[in-house]
Amino acid sequence: MADFEHRPLLDEDAGPLVRPYTVSNGRTAPTAKLDLLSLVRSTGQLRPSQLEAEHAEALILCREPISVAEVSAHLRLPAMVIKVLLSDLVDCGAVTAHSPDPAVDPTDKTVLEALLNGLQRRL
């Protein structure tokens, strides 16, 4: 039974029992500029218990820096829905976010060296 909670309420024919956009009140336009790789982290200014269920679950995941893509995967909701939830949390000061702009420069030597060193440590 414990596992049941972590599985989406899905039925092959009917699809999700809770329509994903219900949790975002039908909104598809996040107020904050977020992309899949935007990193978010909770500020500690609000407790999950002060929020509604989905916002609270998202906030709990944000204790450590985490990407929009990961929050989406863990909560099993489309990235667009997660962007709306997280931008709500940004608006109320519960999380801080990296705006995707300015993009990281792929030729940035410091970042490339961090990438190389981090990978080589795993060999």
Binding site: D108, L112, A114
Partner: protein, 200 residues
């Protein structure tokens, strides 16, 4: 325009969030992209659904709502925490050719790409090669060695793919974490030399 997340926080708090680095793993259907992502990732590979905007193609647009349509694609990805300030995210591109149009959005901000090739079906990686060449995204080719496949030397693969001499080709076993990580090391070194040669 309600986003003011960064502006009202101190610089120290802004810089405290790590930098996310995106690399892509591309190639044909069934070539081992998800296996590759899984063997280098520190977490079980995750999946997300992203809504992609795409310019509609010719006669498809019968709705009159404009020249953009959206489609939903499932993306598998993994994560490697490189150090406290840098996190690597590795995204597998959807293998189906009909999704090629969404790669623009996926490749935005990507540092580079690994194109996985299967010598039994080399032609399956052509769309990925074409795409990254057109986009100017740096990439290397990794031949995933399947037990049933005939072993080709990298230079034979280079000739078959008509690849430029400066693009590294390596052999790997996508199931082996060390082998797959070495592919990423080769890609990173290629990115470094590309970055160095672009600066005058």
């Amino acid at each position: 325009m309600a986003y003011n997340g960064d502006s009202d926080r101190s610089p120290a708090q802004q810089s405290a969030l790590p930098t996310a680095i995106k690399l892509l793993v591309a190639g044909g259907f069934g070539v081992g992209k998800t296996t590759f992502v899984g063997s280098v990732s520190e977490i079980e590979p995750l999946s997300t659904e992203e809504t992609i905007t795409t310019a509609s193609i010719g006669t498809d647009d019968l709705t009159g709502v404009g020249d953009k349509t959206t489609t939903t694609v499932a993306l598998d990805f993994g994560r490697i925490t490189l150090d406290p300030q840098h996190i690597l995210y590795l995204f597998g591109t959807p293998g189906q050719d009909r999704f090629w149009f969404m790669w623009n959005e996926l490749s935005d901000g990507a540092f580079g790409a690994v194109v996985l090739a299967d010598t039994r079906r080399l032609e399956d990686c052509f769309p990925a090669l074409d795409f990254f060449e057109r986009r100017g995204t740096a990439f290397i080719v990794a031949v995933n060695e399947f037990e049933t496949g005939y072993h080709y030397e990298p230079e034979e693969v280079r000739a078959a793919l008509d690849l430029k001499p400066n693009i590294p080709i390596v052999c790997c076993d996508a199931r082996d974490p060390r082998s797959a990580t070495l592919v990423l090391v080769t890609l990173t070194k290629h990115l470094m030399s590309a970055a160095a040669s672009s600066v005058r």
